[in-house]
Symmetry: C2
């Protein structure tokens, strides 16, 4: 399917909702989504404001059972998917400021919609320019995680609205040789930076030429204890690696964000599977966030696929969603429009699912520690049985 | 949704195909299934024979690119989902023989449809009676993996048709204290037993009271080199554990079977996710097979869920499917009917996907070996960062 046709489709849910009705629709959602979730009713003003600004605003509730000894731990998680605003030929500062303004507006809408934790997409302040393999001007988007303009901007919003913000940026580590990293900054509801996490797995596929810009994280799998729950951040390509999700869960994450930038024709059929499988396998909530839109660059580049040189990376298909420990998931945001997905969850569902499915109990971690250690050794001989 | 309503639905694909058309249908399949796969055209006689015997016969082709130095490695994989035949009150030998006859017929159809490797469901010779927690008569279904009546029966068929058969049975290890295991026997196209694999993860959920009948495997993650490819068998509950799939892949599996027995209301929304995620994460084909139908037992039992005692385990929803290394999957077999799914694959797709996505290269196995080893220790302290 050509990019132009794919861009016309709003996504699976739009097509299901338009073509299926009643019991048929219910049955498809039961199998594919776990169930039809109760929507959050936003105020008419807020919904109108979002619509007037061409922002999709969607909200769902994922409930947990009522316990006797623990109060519900209800948290509203917002996932924001945005496009770039200015042309990629505009001055860097102008491009970044325009995105700041746009996403600042979306954060305000999310906060007014009751969000407690707001997750942004990978490298949200910039076009995903690594496809070009050019250095300047793109590396100028890199900035300090602790003191850069983006962190300053978000700290004010976080404090103003009392929200935690996950801000994935291109990081310039000025304290260590100016090295560039792909980093998520975690900003507390107080406005302080709690810490940062870096991308553990760097792609070597398609136009994702990131491995020429930054290396794999040296920070491990930190989990951040916020006012609204324990959070891990598995950046983009890490979602293909089940052990990456596992380590955040073993470090006590209750919510794992997956800020991403990925295009149709490559990953779209995997998108609904991986973050959701991680939610199931680890008894956590996962939040898969993808940018949206097509970004045009000034100079043409090739893709190592026999096709002619071109100036775009393909269509970033959005489709951000939240998956729950019990396998339930929300519908996705649009494939073509910027949007805010607010999901009200009860974090008690993590432990309730541990207690029912119990994969943490049956996972035989000690056995796999031994087996994976053996298999990681260069001299490992696979266990293969042949007919005598 | 009550069992009776759920039993009426043939599954997602039936509802999609009935309600969506043209470009809409194509777009939903593109996102949810990777693409619409080319069907295998079976002879009219074979299709009629299957239909006359109330057996769904479906076939699809998953293609790979043509290479210069390697010939295509085309293999037809059959997944068979069956119901029990006799009432669970019939004599054990009679129950087993009836299932042998029925599945023997299905194997014959699969072989005539060109199957090279045939996978059967978990404990295929018997009702899934572990819900009852009763010993006799159910443990009488246990038999020797090497010399039992089921292996003898299948060896003849394997040799006759030149097919490899994966036969998951309840095993009685007569050579070791008569211990019972949940085991898959791998029978060569020559009729010889190549070896066996046992269930690595035993459920503790719902009515799956298997942990009172058998323990976790002591055989590790063997992979069987057959005439038609290298095969691993991840039995049922092991599909919830990404490390289990991983170890079969690290032992060189190209196809990993997941013979299962699982019911709606519990796992159905996870079913399309887990085996498929494993295919993606490990660059292998996975074959998810579930039994079909509702089984009634003579004595009532409770389910530890506050509901009244009852005599059935719920509806086994079939829906067997094959997932490919590139994330493509076949439609599922019916939720309600016995069936045979034949998928023609080109095993070259495994290495082609390794070479494009390259998760084996980027998975940082040595790092996870260390980290998982640390996390498996009782004294492990999760890496949690708090606000200062």
């Amino acid at each position: 399917m050509s990019a132009s046709v794919a861009e016309q489709s709003g996504g699976v849910e739009e097509l299901l909702n338009a073509n299926l009705k009643g019991k048929d629709l219910e049955e498809v959602y039961r199998i594919l989504y776990g169930r039809i979730l109760k929507p959050i009713e936003f105020s008419t003003d807020l919904s109108k404001f979002a619509a007037d600004n061409n922002i999709q605003l969607a909200g769902y509730v994922i409930e947990a059972a009522k316990e006797q000894l623990r109060a519900p731990r209800k948290v509203r998680i917002a996932a924001i998917q945005n496009s770039i605003v200015e042309a990629t030929t505009a001055p860097i500062a102008q491009q970044r400021e325009a995105i700041h303004r746009r996403v600042g507006q979306m954060i305000e809408i999310a906060a007014q919609g009751g969000a407690n934790i707001i997750g942004l997409q990978e490298a949200w302040t910039m076009p995903f320019a690594f496809c070009t393999r050019e250095r300047l001007p793109w590396t100028e988007f890199a900035e300090s995680a602790e003191h850069g303009p983006t962190t300053k901007f978000l700290s004010q919003l976080a404090k103003k609205y009392g929200v935690v913000i996950i801000s994935p940026i291109l990081e310039r580590d000025e304290s260590r040789d100016d090295v560039i990293w792909n980093t998520a900054v975690v900003i507390s509801h107080t406005g302080n930076v709690i810490g940062k996490s870096r991308k553990n797995h760097i792609p070597r596929v398609g136009d994702f030429n990131e491995s020429t810009y930054y290396m794999e994280s040296n920070l491990g799998h930190p989990v951040f204890e916020t006012a609204f729950g324990k959070i891990g951040i598995n950046i983009c390509y890490g979602r293909h690696h089940p052990q990456n999700w596992l380590m955040y869960a073993l470090n006590s994450a209750e919510i794992i964000f997956n800020p991403s930038a990925t295009v149709n024709g490559l990953s779209e059929t995997l998108w609904g599977i991986e973050a959701r499988n991680a939610a199931i396998a680890n008894h956590v909530f996962t939040v898969a966030i993808n940018r949206v839109g097509t970004e045009l660059f000034p100079n043409e580049f090739t893709s190592g696929n026999g096709q002619p040189a071109h100036k775009d990376f393909g269509h970033f298909y959005g489709s951000s969603y939240v998956a729950a420990p019990d396998g339930t998931r929300t519908p996705g945001l649009s494939r073509t429009q910027e949007g805010i997905l607010i999901t009200e969850v009860d974090l008690n569902l993590c432990r309730q699912t541990k207690d029912s499915w119990g994969f943490r109990m049956t996972q035989r971690l000690d056995m796999y520690a031994e087996k994976i250690s053996a298999a990681a050794a260069p001299e490992y001989r696979p266990h293969i049985i042949k007919e005598h």
